[in-house]
Symmetry: C2
Subunit: 248 residues, 2 copies
């Protein structure tokens, strides 16, 4: 379970790929030392469940690499994704014992975990951590509200276009590109995961992707590799007139 050394030889935070975006982003050298004392890495294979909703969770964590999802499931099996966790995103809630959602690794995932109790103590004494966490939580809340508009009011076609736009934008900004004109990226989600994200069935997802392809809004190479010839066109299809602040 703890294969940190295999994947991230450094226990040292200074070389960490998410150093400047994660919950530790604002920490100074001394604060990082305190964090290092309570941290450990865990890795998960694609498809593996990190925690089950309701389970006791004795750690909080940052996603270092890979993609995980937060999902809710009703008794009859209907599921809704409520969070998409990308590198640097934070998992778990300080001050709560149990997990509120299922956390599932969609790809192979590495997490930087902090033992919860000492992390909570650090939050009291180290304002930089709490400040950054507040900022990240506010961003997530904005993303959740954007997502609510998608779920509540958009058509299936607009939902797909919105999701593609979100992924395309994130991918572009990660590569330090301003999202416009032609973009290329890989879908990190199966059709079923996309359906759970958007409140659709996987058949509808498949059909709408085919429709967008047929209409030239996107070009597919294989099932997962997407080329967007004109990002503005995609935004129009998403119903976003402005290049609005959809963030993940």
């Amino acid at each position: 379970m703890l294969q940190d050394n295999m994947i991230f030889p450094q226990h040292d935070c200074s070389g960490c790929p998410i150093r400047h975006r994660a919950v530790c982003a604002r920490c100074d050298a001394h604060e990082l030392e305190l964090l290092e004392e309570i941290k450990y890495y865990r890795s998960f294979e694609a498809g593996q469940t990190v925690v089950w909703s309701g389970d006791r969770m004795d750690f909080v964590a940052s996603v270092v690499s890979g993609i995980a999802t937060l999902t809710q499931t009703m008794e009859d099996g209907r599921t809704q994704m409520v969070g998409l966790l990308l590198p640097s995103d934070f998992v778990g809630r300080p001050g709560r014992d149990g997990a509120a959602y299922d956390v599932v690794a969609t790809s192979d995932v590495v997490m930087c975990c902090f033992r919860k109790k000492p992390f909570e103590q650090l939050m009291e004494t180290t304002p930089h951590i709490a400040q950054r966490l507040l900022q990240m939580t506010l961003d997530e809340l904005d993303a959740a509200r954007e997502w609510m508009l998608v779920l509540g009011r958009k058509t299936a076609r607009e939902k797909i276009a919105s999701l593609l736009a979100i992924i395309a934008r994130r991918d572009a900004t990660l590569n330090l590109i301003t999202p416009k004109g032609k973009l290329v990226f890989d879908l990190p989600l199966t059709r079923e995961a996309m359906a759970d994200y958007l409140g659709l069935t996987l058949e509808t997802v498949s059909r709408q992707i085919s429709a967008l392809k047929r209409d030239g809004v996107i070009v597919l190479e294989g099932k997962r590799h997407v080329i967007v010839p004109d990002f503005t066109r995609l935004l129009e299809e998403a119903g976003d007139d402005n290049d609005g602040g959809l963030l993940v």
Copy 2:
């Protein structure tokens, strides 16, 4: 616009009805004094818009009394409510200049406003404020995720039952009652506002309320006064098996 003295004679926080739940909940006497220096009251009539999305917002605020909504609107007029603001809820985002959503007073509303700049400075120096705001934001994020399940996966009937359950539960806890058995409350929203909350049309809302009435899940006196004979039954209709943590 500033009719504070009419409605809340005390500029003094100690007698404030939301003293123990708002963003200032953890503040001590001294911290409250600092807040009092930068605060002022504003009141709004039912139907009035507090701020428009995109507008500059030079304050943050707590709802003292009344109900307001956060809504997003697409160019073609489709609207989705993304937040329901009740007494003690917080409005605005520290560190952002413009409003991200329309804020509309659904009933007559009184807000306790803080000038943004000095409030942001206080957040740096007064950890109790930032701590409380983090807690509140995490709660809102949980509520938003619960809401996403409602929007994405529930049927119209379940959506209505879910909303009624949320309002009933909040109303009950406000009156220090454990929500179970028979509950009585008033709907603070029009059918249209409920539709915007749930991603439905107002006709569907009306029909489903009639259906729940016909099936004895609720009893109506007038359009807005609701009697729930059996709260457990309502939760079943909502698709929530457990008495899960739906919060507003």
